[in-house]
């Protein structure tokens, strides 16, 4: 049964991919059918410019993934395992930045880091007389900083359950043997979190490879060209999805290489099992005066991840226009016209409502099937299940617009086209890799002895899955649900081709304003959107004690 469910989920992912792959061998400009040929691939291999572009892409993706996942892992460890003061605050602070859509971070950080008009360089000049343009949003460092911040949530949400479900006997043995806390952390704690860390790192790396907004907004003005722009040019200039897919195959190849290293690194999965049959309580480590440093670290992330960009957006949404001089005059020049415009917008509320209802269902289905696929790979004896490692991550290698074309072709001519079902399946395919990698990273940490005890007693798969695996994975499930829901509710790039005329999806106004460059209105929409989510998360966390993997 798990194999069947995984196969069905795998088929849903593979079918649109196969369609776009087929078209890459048969389609030319404007989608004209040109018979079976290799022209698109020959063009890709003859493209002399792609090597330097790939170099930039790998540097950008690896830098952002390392920064974001590393920072996320550190935050997860601080929250789960240390006696950092202000527990309630420390638990909440890393959650809020997840709510801020990456595009909003892009805009806010461009306004902060722009060389000549940016707030930070302006302040250095005004208050310290530093004329040198220290910060530059339009540089590789600026791109890595901004996208790296967007990578933190995955690192945090993937690592937190691991640190929370840690058998302390391993660390205690080290202490008894005379190891110091820092040494124990580096030699015992962190190595055991490797599978979950690598899972998040792989996902963030692949996200970086195909990410488009940051390279377009920050890279192009700095003359930094990334590979994925070739995919988009194939769609935007030649309207040739076949060529776009052929370019995407380079990303698929990179994904396969990355996954190969991941599978190799975690091939002895028993080594990483931290959840065993023995009873224990997670131990909080007293880190002495360092606890103030860890508090400062969480607070600094909170400032960079949401507080500072949020304040920038609030001010930008309330001033007549942005330039440094006008920004610094706030609040004497405050206007509320942008908020009025956004709230008056005909589809702000309907779009938000439509996406809320669908995203909840999609998050539940995706996370559930993600766990089943990971269970099939690591907990069943079926042959050839390792292929699911690749299939489950495959959608991440394709830019969303390419993938959506495959989905549109599937649904065309069927009653599913232009229905909520089509959109739901599209979102499922797009977010499955997050659910799957989260589950596989977490499942590796559960020792097989727990399952084996059940198997020995004659349990069937459903008993093992529902009574043992699923309850133990509860913290990971919470995190993945939260993450996929937040991502799906604001999705634009997958949903755009699958949304039926007359049915807005997502807080369309917000993203439409960003897309058309009305930053002040976009900032106002973003502020309203964030306030709604922050209130919802705070109420859920504080009033209903809801756990987002905490």
């Amino acid at each position: 049964m798990p194999l069947l469910a995984s196969t069905v989920a795998g088929a849903a992912i593979v079918t649109p991919v196969l369609i776009v792959l087929w078209r890459s061998f048969t389609t030319g400009k404007l989608g004209f059918s040109v018979g079976l040929n290799l022209n698109n691939y020959l063009r890709v291999f003859a493209d002399r410019d792609i090597l330097p572009m790939l170099g930039n892409s790998v540097l950008y993706a690896a830098g952002s993934a390392a920064l974001g996942t590393g920072l996320g892992a550190m935050l997860a460890w601080i929250v789960a395992r240390t006696n950092t003061p202000g527990k309630a605050l420390v638990e909440l602070m890393p959650l809020y930045p997840i709510l801020m859509p990456p595009i909003m971070k892009n805009i806010a950080w461009i306004l902060l880091l722009a060389p000549r008009s940016g707030i930070l360089n302006g302040m250095l000049q005004q208050f310290f007389g530093i004329e040198t343009l220290v910060f530059n949003a339009f540089s590789m460092a600026g791109m890595i900083w901004v996208f790296g911040l967007a990578c933190v949530p995955l690192g945090y949400l993937f690592l937190l359950p691991v640190f929370l479900s840690f058998d302390p006997s391993l660390e205690e043995s080290a202490y008894i043997a005379g190891s110091r806390p820092v040494h124990t952390m580096l030699k015992i704690t962190f190595p055991l979190a490797v599978p979950a860390f690598l899972s998040a790192l792989v996902l963030n790396f692949l996200r970086g490879l195909r990410s488009f907004e940051t390279p377009v907004l920050q890279g192009t003005p700095g003359n930094i060209k990334v590979f994925v722009s070739r995919v988009y040019d194939s769609m935007a200039l030649e309207f040739n999805t076949g060529l776009a897919t052929a370019y995407s195959i380079v990303l698929v190849a990179l994904s396969v290489i990355t996954l190969y290293f991941y599978v190799r690194a975690t091939r002895f999965s028993e080594r990483y099992a931290t959840i065993t049959g023995k009873g224990y309580r997670v131990k909080v480590i007293d880190i002495g005066p360092w606890k103030y440093v860890t508090f400062a670290a969480v607070f600094l992330y909170f400032l960079a991840g949401i507080a500072i960009p949020f304040v920038v957006l609030i001010v930008v949404s309330m001033i007549p226009y942005y330039d440094y001089e006008t920004f610094m005059k706030f609040p004497s020049n405050m206007v509320l016209a942008n908020f009025y415009t956004v709230l008056r917008h005909p589809s702000f509320i309907t779009g938000l409502y439509n996406s809320l209802s669908l995203s909840i269902s999609i998050a539940v289905i995706t996370v559930f099937l993600g766990i089943i696929m990971a269970f099939t790979i690591y907990r069943t004896r079926a042959v050839g299940t390792k292929i699911f490692e690749f299939i489950g991550t495959l959608p991440l290698a394709f830019p969303p617009l390419v993938l959506s074309v495959g989905l549109v072709i599937i649904f065309l001519g069927t009653p599913l086209y232009n229905s909520l079902w089509a959109l739901g399946i599209g979102l499922f395919v797009a977010y499955f890799p997050y659910a799957f990698r989260n589950a596989s990273g977490a499942i590796v940490n559960i020792h097989k002895e727990l399952d084996e005890a059940a198997w020995v007693h004659g349990a069937r798969w459903r008993h093992v899955f529902f009574k043992i695996t699923l309850p133990i994975l509860k913290p990971s499930v919470g995190g993945a649900l939260f993450y996929i829901f937040i991502e799906a509710v604001r999705n634009v790039d997958v949903a755009v081709l699958l949304t039926a005329p007359g049915k807005e999806y997502g807080p369309v106004t917000l993203f439409e304003y960003f897309r058309v460059g009305q930053w002040a209105e976009a900032a106002a929409g973003g502020v309203i959107y964030l306030i709604i989510l922050i209130v919802a998360v705070s109420v859920a966390k504080l009033a209903f004690k809801m756990k987002f993997s905490l």
């Binding site: 989608g31 309207f239 599913l416 005329p501």
Partner: protein
């Protein structure tokens, strides 16, 4: 859930087979339609003098007569589906005004960017889907016409249009202007022409729209090339632009925001309605009135397999009529008529006698990649 997902997949796989078959039929149709589109010679005129009052009256009479014929048929069809690149607020305002004027018609819309519109319509067209009536956009309809996905329709109000295309009704214009930040540079110091922008003295002050994408700067280049008819001059212009080593943007609107912020002094180019709207709000931007505006058609193209063809025609004609233009003007978009005066019309925004530079190059409009590879890439990336 698993059963339902399996069913959905089964249906999906079946659809693949069907679409695969339908695709071949669609290809033949496309080729045929593309040939027809080839025959359609684009007749465009630069911004001309105001038409005589009798031309305005004649256009109005022709529209009213046709509307009388189309409306009962449109009522029977009952629906209008619009795909557009325009802001949702604008599409809503325009379709609501249309349905209010013609009760009994329900309008729905879908909004996407040009590449998304082209991809969606082409995929639907090749899959035989009667999905949309009107494609309201700038770049997308001409490209779709080249693929045979647009029905040819010549408006009865052609004599009052600034730019007329006999196959795609022009309902608005994209007007490009040379904009600048008034805090960063004085009007007297600004370039006096588009060509003057490439003067080395402006190095470090300018931001460029990416000339290698189908965007405003590449369409300007297509317009100027047509107007100059001088290859040497055209190549020099691109060479000098390149020598500025200016930051390049793939989003004109983001570039314009950065000009307002003071990051750059000069915007090459900006859209006139953006500049005028910002100027009205007190933003420190202005534009050089002596630099000829570049005009690009925004059309309401009728889809080749439109499920509601009469409603589509009625909408296109209404949008061009005085009444429709008032609505288009009210959302801040430029009028396509010579006899419609508004704050964003060339007649009001530029000195008397200004001759706009129209973008009418058929190759550029229908195959921007080929045009750019032929005329710009060898110099820009060479």
């Amino acid at each position: 859930m698993i059963i339902k997902t399996s069913m959905a997949l089964f249906v999906a796989l079946l659809a693949v087979l069907l679409v695969g078959k339908a695709g071949h039929g669609a290809d033949d149709m496309m080729k045929k339609a593309a040939k027809n589109a080839e025959k359609a010679v684009q007749k465009s005129a630069p911004a001309a003098a105001k038409p005589a009052p009798n031309e305005t009256a004649a256009a109005e009479a022709a529209f009213q007569k046709l509307a009388k014929e189309l409306y009962p048929k449109a009522q029977k069809e009952g629906n209008l589906i619009v795909y557009s690149v325009w802001d949702v607020e604008h599409i809503r305002a325009i379709t609501e005004a249309f349905t209010k004027r013609y009760p009994g018609i329900k309008a729905t819309y879908w909004q996407g960017r040009n590449p998304e519109i082209v991809t969606r319509v082409l995929t639907e067209f090749q899959g035989g889907q009667a999905s949309v009536d009107i494609v309201l956009s700038d770049n997308a309809p001409a490209v779709l016409r080249a693929a045979g996905a647009m029905a040819s329709y010549d408006t009865v109000q052609k004599n009052v249009l600034v730019l007329h295309d006999p196959t795609l009704p022009t309902v608005s214009l994209q007007v490009q202007a040379l904009a600048f930040n008034t805090k960063k540079i004085k009007l007297a110091e600004m370039p006096k022409s588009w060509e003057d922008v490439a003067n080395p003295k402006y190095k470090g002050l300018i931001a460029l729209d990416d000339p290698m994408r189908a965007g405003p700067l590449s369409s300007m280049l297509a317009g100027l090339k047509d107007q100059w008819k001088d290859d040497g001059r055209f190549k020099n212009f691109i060479r000098n632009l390149k020598a500025l080593n200016a930051p390049v943007h793939k989003s004109t609107s983001a570039m314009f925001r950065l000009v307002i912020s003071g990051e750059y002094a000069i915007c090459m180019p900006a859209l006139l309605h953006d500049v005028i709207n910002e100027k009205e709000k007190g933003t420190p931007v202005d534009y050089v009135r002596g630099v000829a505006p570049i005009v690009f058609p925004r059309v309401a193209g009728i889809y080749a397999k439109a499920p509601n063809p009469n409603t589509a025609k009625l909408f296109a004609e209404w949008a061009i009529s005085q009444e429709g233009q008032k609505v288009i003007d009210s959302v801040g978009r430029e009028s396509s008529r010579k006899d419609f005066k508004s704050k964003t019309s060339i007649e009001s925004a530029f000195p008397k006698g200004t001759k706009a530079v129209p973008v009418t190059d058929k190759l550029f409009l229908e195959d921007p990649k080929k045009w750019l590879d032929t005329y710009v890439k060898p110099i820009w990336e060479g």
